[in-house]
């Protein structure tokens, strides 16, 4: 296993790039800003547990962009230029290359997330707030998982596409679909079905589950169920937090696994 060599090299090169600095800087700023504003803007009580629902909006907006943009070029750039051939001429397997890249890119965005979340937590606690350590750590863990999902989707795109252009289109397509249009489509669907008289009020549970598979919504359900005090997720068991956690894990490994199989079987030149 030589992924460590790849991971170290990719990390040291990537942190030096301007795009990574900007992306991670934006992520850190958004999280810290949330921690700064929350105690001022939100109603009492100010706790690190209730901070999670406040931070959710910013996180579900910024993490997909940063995770995707930081990872989508990881493999396809080297594949397009041909420098991946130098790595694969050495005694590295394709799996080593992918694991190394994955650890490096995911590690970068995870480190930025954890660091800024801890900073934000401190801003929430001092001077007015209350530290609810257990729930805050659970929230931190879920946020890292959400980050891993999007970083993994970025790498999956990088593995599945043969050119940088296609990876960019595919990656932005995913972010656009999930972050920008998904909710509007779900709302339109609800309105339409209501107008047609097929449903009354909410969507049926099974449909809610399907439209709720989108990573941000799953992340929100899991956070609501695990972290928010005194709240539980209403509805049938499959809309609960444990299923949400499971779905989130599937998002983290599924697309990447499929994309790896495709990459592993394809000719590189």
């Amino acid at each position: 296993m030589t992924w460590e060599v790849i991971a170290r090299q990719d990390w040291s090169v990537t942190v030096e790039t301007r795009s990574a600095k900007v992306l991670l800087g934006v992520l850190v700023s958004v999280v810290l800003l949330a921690g700064y504003i929350y105690p001022v803007a939100a109603p009492e009580p100010i706790t690190t547990a209730r901070f999670s629902s406040f931070a959710m909006g910013g996180l579900t907006m910024i993490v997909p962009f940063v995770g995707m943009l930081l990872s989508y070029g990881a493999v396809v750039d080297e594949r397009e230029s041909g420098s991946i051939l130098l790595s694969l001429s050495l005694p590295h397997s394709r799996r080593d290359v992918v694991i190394g890249k994955y650890l490096s890119r995911t590690g970068l965005v995870t480190a930025a997330t954890v660091g800024s979340m801890l900073g934000a937590g401190a801003l929430v606690v001092y001077p007015f707030g209350e530290l609810v350590l257990g729930r805050f750590l659970v929230f931190l863990g879920l946020t890292v998982l959400f980050v891993v999902v999007w970083s993994g989707l970025g790498l999956a795109v990088s593995l599945a596409a043969a050119t940088r252009r296609r990876a960019l289109v595919l990656g932005f397509g995913l972010v656009f679909l999930f972050v920008i249009v998904w909710e509007a489509v779900v709302d339109a669907l609800t309105l339409g079905l209501n107008a047609a008289g097929l449903v009354d009020g909410e969507l049926p549970g099974a449909v809610q589950f399907l439209v709720g598979l989108e990573p941000s919504l799953v992340f929100e359900r899991a956070t609501t169920g695990f972290v928010l005090p005194g709240e539980s997720v209403a509805g049938p068991w499959y809309l609960g937090e444990w299923v949400a956690l499971l779905v989130l894990v599937c998002w983290a490994v599924g697309p990447l696994g499929l994309a790896f199989l495709r990459f592993d079987g394809s000719d590189l030149s």
Partner: protein, 303 residues
Amino acid sequence: MVAIDADAVSKRYGTETALDRVDLDVEEGETFGFLGPNGAGKSTFINVLLDFVTPSQGTVEIFGHDCQREGVAARDRIGVLPEGYSVFDRLTGRQHIEYAIRSKDADDDPIDVLDRVGIREAADRKATGYSKGMAQRLVLGMALVGDPDLLVLDEPSTGLDPNGAAEMRQILREENERGATIFFSSHILEQVEAVCDRVGILQNGELVAVDTIEGLRQSMGGGTKLVITVDGLQNGTVERIRGVEGVETAVADEDSTIEVTCTNDAKMDVVVELHGAGVDVVNFRTEEASLEDMFIEYTGPRR
């Protein structure tokens, strides 16, 4: 032990056949030249060796390790100069060599390696600013790291000036003397002739000949080429010569010159045949077939 053992390797892209049942053994310690015109499938074969490409049929082993199923083990003791690579963005020459050293778990000194391939003074410059020839030297340096048992080089002299190509050949000789097996592809004949023990000629994906250079000459009718100047060619003269036993090729060069490759014994028969056809021989000389003639013979359009 066999360094490279290819068994009926084929590669098809759609209906295009890039490699057609290539069988090849490269013995440990030899320098093997893989020769063929552009597009003959040399790079495809090397890409199969390196598992960049999966063969449609057949298997290749390097030192007994299957290149597809045990790719890492197969590449563990080799140094590679692939085709179609580019250097890494943002890394200096020295960092490239260091990367190869860490990847191979070797303990070479990066500066020694760069010195050997002649780009020591560019060690701390970004490799993306290197010329093609310097990049080629750099990647050769990466290949040399860790004293590999086999060097696989795809068109190693690409981008090198004549001096650079000579230095490259010198390094290959040194590596071979150290005990390394060398497998390299080229479409340039002088290089192959200068360093190779054996040569394989690839044409349209088929391995049409594998032999020593001497052996290729032998099989080419004792390496004899006749250049005959006559007083005037008539219709059918060339065809009559082709009909002589022992003649391999006969080509009318200009109005009054015929080039014939044939066995040694057939020389006189050719002249006799010309005489019989009523053609006067004005001049007559023999040449030893060069590798270039053989190359054209094997890979050129069928006569």
